[in-house]
């Protein structure tokens, strides 16, 4: 029997919920705030903004990052922009429209109340970031410029060149740095969470490993916030940074936090394809390139002529052929799958036949090289640096890659997980994007959670705890967690097998990518679920970690992360197998329309699957949160 999860949606109509919540929320007196300690793990957009704001309010904050500096968090790599319902362009944008676009983009699998709140506070985010000195792009008149992005018919995306994530993260980082300087935040850098500790059903603190000394220590607090990002690196090759991992979320899951919708992962269609077997990560090329580039593959899988000698009639412009109205601008999931099918048919291009062409020769002929250069010059340079080919002369080669994970820790309206006192923010939670995230919405969600949601909702939890003692780090639960963590890491060192953690990571990634990637089938998922546990057993028996546990050891760090990816991978496949429908990033080949579109099953699957740890990911328990749409009507997404 599954448990009905309570999202704690506030009363009132959708647009009043957040106001009603704020009006009723319990407050902590300013002078009492310093009596509370909050741990924030992760210093990306959500973590840094939450830590800074909580410290501004007066809470004692301990912030943890495994990087050398908070500014390295992977939020920094976001390129495109950040959405906000400012309606500065006067093109009919509104909070409701942003809300609706986000729900629809998420293929009607997100919680209405959370998404509406996100749309409401999006407006404040832009104000806040501009006040902090984020140099957003501007018009000559000095006002903020906007661009339009996929899934929206209005221009609501604010951007700072191709480095919006960087500028926003640096803004949040600077606010965090200010609080560190003032003493409001204590920063623990190069310190990785290795366990979450719960005492009497509440989050009591965390156990961390000092990456520089290997020392394992405990930290107790009144509340713990996990802002530790997504798990896209389960695929091994993804656009995520090398260190991105699921460990914090997964350790929380093992301590009782439900993990929601792990199978919702987003595959971005325009990345530079893998070039050799050493490849460590994939690089995203902005989606905007598809405005002027034409996607094609040779009709003949055995095409041997150089690209410029393949005549028009032997080229398959498959997006234009299959989706005549949207053409090369077909949505992310559709064009990703189309590319995969072309490559699977053997029509792939490049030395490894693993990409499709994105050809600018028409655009260069039509607009002239200088116009193309003006629009995409920096992207072309980046492509040339990585791929070693000049895209003005030779078509770019692109292929889809794992990019973002919509799934994550289940949270209620207050962003609290199923463990009281444990919060999840940003990509680490599942709440706002449903089954598919729209471009320029990840930055918005991270900052919304950190700046404008958590600072309110945490007070509601803390207020009744005033002057009640919390367990210290000498509590047996902390000691037990510490020794379990120590054992775990000595365990990796003591296997003394023959394969490196990277080898296993690559193998897990291959299985997940093949069977739980862009297109999933029951058969494939079952295969993955039989291969993964076997490989996991091998991991436990044949892992080799060199070096020691007393100094910085990147191999050892990696081993712990791969261990957790194994377990998450199994849960992903189980979630994908149990969700007998296609929606957003989750595409089950069995459930598609005649035209190859995702076919949702609203009668049976209009819910969140929240998995409960039972000791083994293979036997995790599936709980559901029904999604009740009060305002929007469920509709089929159509791109014809």
């Amino acid at each position: 029997m599954s448990v009905e999860l309570n999202a704690k949606n506030p009363a009132g109509s959708l647009s009043d919920k957040w106001e009603n919540y704020k009006a009723d929320v319990k407050l902590v007196n300013p002078n009492n705030k310093r009596k509370f300690k909050v741990i924030v793990v992760g210093t990306g957009l959500a973590g840094a903004s939450a830590a800074a704001t909580l410290a501004e309010l007066g809470y004692q904050v301990d912030a943890f990052t495994f990087h050398d500096s908070p500014r390295r968090a992977h939020s920094i790599a976001a390129q495109g922009g950040i959405n906000a319902a400012k309606n500065y362009q006067g093109d009919g944008d509104s909070v409701h429209r942003l809300f609706y676009d986000t729900i629809k983009g998420g293929d009607f699998r997100a919680r209405e109340s959370n998404v509406h709140r996100l749309a409401e506070v999006s407006v404040n985010i832009i104000d806040q970031m501009v006040a902090q000195g984020v140099p957003f792009a501007r018009e000559y008149g000095g006002l903020l410029d906007n661009r339009s992005f996929g899934g929206a018919q209005v221009s609501r995306t604010f951007y700072a060149r191709g480095q919006t994530g960087q500028q926003l993260l640096l803004g949040a980082y600077q606010q965090l740095a200010r609080q560190i300087g003032l003493g409001g935040v204590r920063l623990f850098n190069r310190t990785e969470l290795v366990d979450v500790v719960t005492i009497e059903g509440r989050a009591a603190g965390i156990v961390v490993r000092d990456l520089m000394t290997g020392e394992i220590t405990s930290h107790s607090a009144h509340a713990v916030v996990l802002a530790t990002g997504g798990y896209g690196n389960v695929f091994f090759l993804s656009t995520n940074a090398m260190a991105c991992n699921v460990t914090a979320a997964w350790r929380a899951h093992r301590k009782g936090a439900y993990f929601a919708n792990p199978c919702y992962t987003q595959i971005h269609p325009t990345c530079i394809p893998q070039s050799d077997e050493f490849q460590s990560k994939l690089t995203l090329m902005s989606e905007s390139l598809r405005n002027d580039g034409r996607v094609w593959v040779p009709k003949n899988p055995d095409e041997a002529r150089p690209v410029d000698q393949i005549p028009e009639e032997d080229r398959d412009y498959y997006l234009e052929r299959l989706y005549p109205s949207y053409g090369n601008l077909a949505p992310r999931d559709i064009s990703s799958r189309a590319a995969k099918r072309a490559v699977d048919r053997g029509q792939g291009v490049g030395p490894l036949k693993n990409g499709v062409y994105l050809d600018f020769s028409d655009a260069i002929n039509r607009l002239g090289k200088s116009v193309v250069e003006e629009r995409y010059g920096n992207l072309f340079d980046m492509y040339e640096r990585i791929a070693g080919e000049n895209p003005y002369d030779v078509p770019m080669r692109i292929y889809p890659a794992s990019h973002y994970t919509m799934g994550g820790l289940w949270v209620d309206y207050e962003l609290m997980t199923t463990i009281p006192g444990l919060y999840a923010a940003g990509e680490a939670n599942f709440s706002d994007h449903g089954a598919n995230r729209l471009g320029a919405s990840a930055l918005m969600q991270g900052l919304a959670d950190g700046y404008f949601v958590l600072p309110y909702t945490i007070g509601n939890y803390l207020a009744p705890m005033l002057n009640k003692p919390i367990p210290g780090t000498d509590h047996p639960e902390f000691k037990a967690a510490e020794s379990a963590a120590r054992e775990r890491f000595t365990g990796y060192l003591n296997v003394k097998g023959t394969r490196s953690p990277d080898w296993f990571h690559r193998e897990v990634g291959k299985i997940i990518w093949d069977y739980c990637g862009m297109e999933r089938t029951q058969q494939g998922l079952e295969k993955a679920l039989s291969e993964l546990p076997a490989l996991y057993d091998e991991f436990k028996k044949d892992l080799r970690v060199t070096g020691d546990g007393e100094s910085l050891n990147q191999t050892l760090e990696k081993a712990g992360r791969v261990d957790d990816f194994f377990q998450l991978g199994m849960l992903m496949c189980r979630d994908a197998l149990d969700r007998n429908e296609s929606c957003g990033g989750h595409f089950r080949a069995e459930y598609q329309t005649d035209e190859g579109e995702a076919l949702r099953d609203d009668d049976n699957f209009c819910h969140v699957a929240a998995w409960e740890w039972t000791g083994d990911p293979m036997s995790a328990k599936r709980n559901v949160e029904e999604l009740n749409y009060e305002t929007v009507h469920l509709a089929t997404r159509s791109y014809k």
Binding site: I180, G181, L182, G183, V185, R186, L187, N189, M212, T213
Partner: protein, 253 residues
């Protein structure tokens, strides 16, 4: 080569340090940027000196009387408003002070920079834009300083003026002293070498001072290096012409 990491543990309240209260100028001078201002400002003063010194010395091309008269004129600056030689001594005092500050700042900055990288790179560096001038400032500076000492001993105090040459050092007979000195080819060679060092020093210094003072305007920035090159060239060409002229017999012949 051992070094100590910044303490582990949490980082907090880093911005609460208060700086020692010092008189304004000393406070300014206590920072590296402040010392660079000092170097730039004293550098400007010293540049003014070398330029006018060179221009004044051009009078030797008009003959002994002109040059000696010029020396006398310098002593009589503002006379009779100020006593004879007073203004010249004030100027000299200023020059000495500027040279002292310039050197003091250079020495302290060099020491600071040495401690900023206690362990050098163990492999060869491949510099991209740092040029010979910028990287040899302290050696050209030292060369110019040593030359200055010699120059004063030679032509101001006359200590070395008559070594290896005939005649008597009479301070007011500037023209004779110069000719006597530069007629000795090792002296002339040293003179030329030192002036080339000065030129190299100016080539970087006269550009660098704009950066240090923050005199920066995208419209004029491209002129900064041109100014430095021009200034260094004028000073070096002027100065180097004297020993050549003496050796060639154009002056004093």
């Amino acid at each position: 080569m051992a070094q100590v990491l910044h303490g582990r543990g949490p980082v907090t309240a880093t911005a609460n340090k208060s700086r020692k209260k010092r008189p304004f100028l000393l406070d300014l001078y206590s920072t590296a940027v402040g010392k660079k201002y000092a170097m730039a400002i004293t550098g400007i003063g010293l540049m003014g000196f070398v330029l006018f010194h060179m221009i004044g010395n051009l009078k030797m091309y008009f003959g002994a009387a002109d040059l000696d008269h010029y020396a006398e004129f310098l002593k009589k600056l503002l006379y009779p408003l100020a006593p004879k030689g007073a203004v010249l001594w004030i100027l000299r005092g200023g020059l000495i002070a500027m040279a002292f500050i310039h050197i003091h700042a250079a020495v302290s900055l060099t020491r600071l920079n040495r401690t900023a990288r206690p362990v050098r790179y163990q492999s060869e560096r491949d510099y991209q834009v740092a040029n010979f001038a910028s990287r040899s400032m302290r050696w050209t500076g030292v060369t110019v300083f040593l030359f200055l000492v010699w120059h004063l001993l030679d032509l101001t105090f006359g200590v070395t003026n008559t070594v290896g040459a005939d005649g008597e050092f009479i301070r007011a007979n500037v023209y004779d002293n110069v000719v006597r000195s530069l007629d000795r080819w090792p002296v002339a060679a040293f003179y030329i070498l030192a002036n080339i060092a000065l030129g190299i020093h100016l080539f970087h210094g006269a550009w660098s001072l704009f950066q240090s003072m923050g005199w920066n305007n995208p419209r004029f920035n491209k002129w900064r290096q041109a100014f430095a090159t021009g200034f260094a060239t004028v000073v070096v060409v002027g100065n180097v012409s004297f020993p050549i002229a003496v050796l060639a017999g154009v002056v004093g012949g």
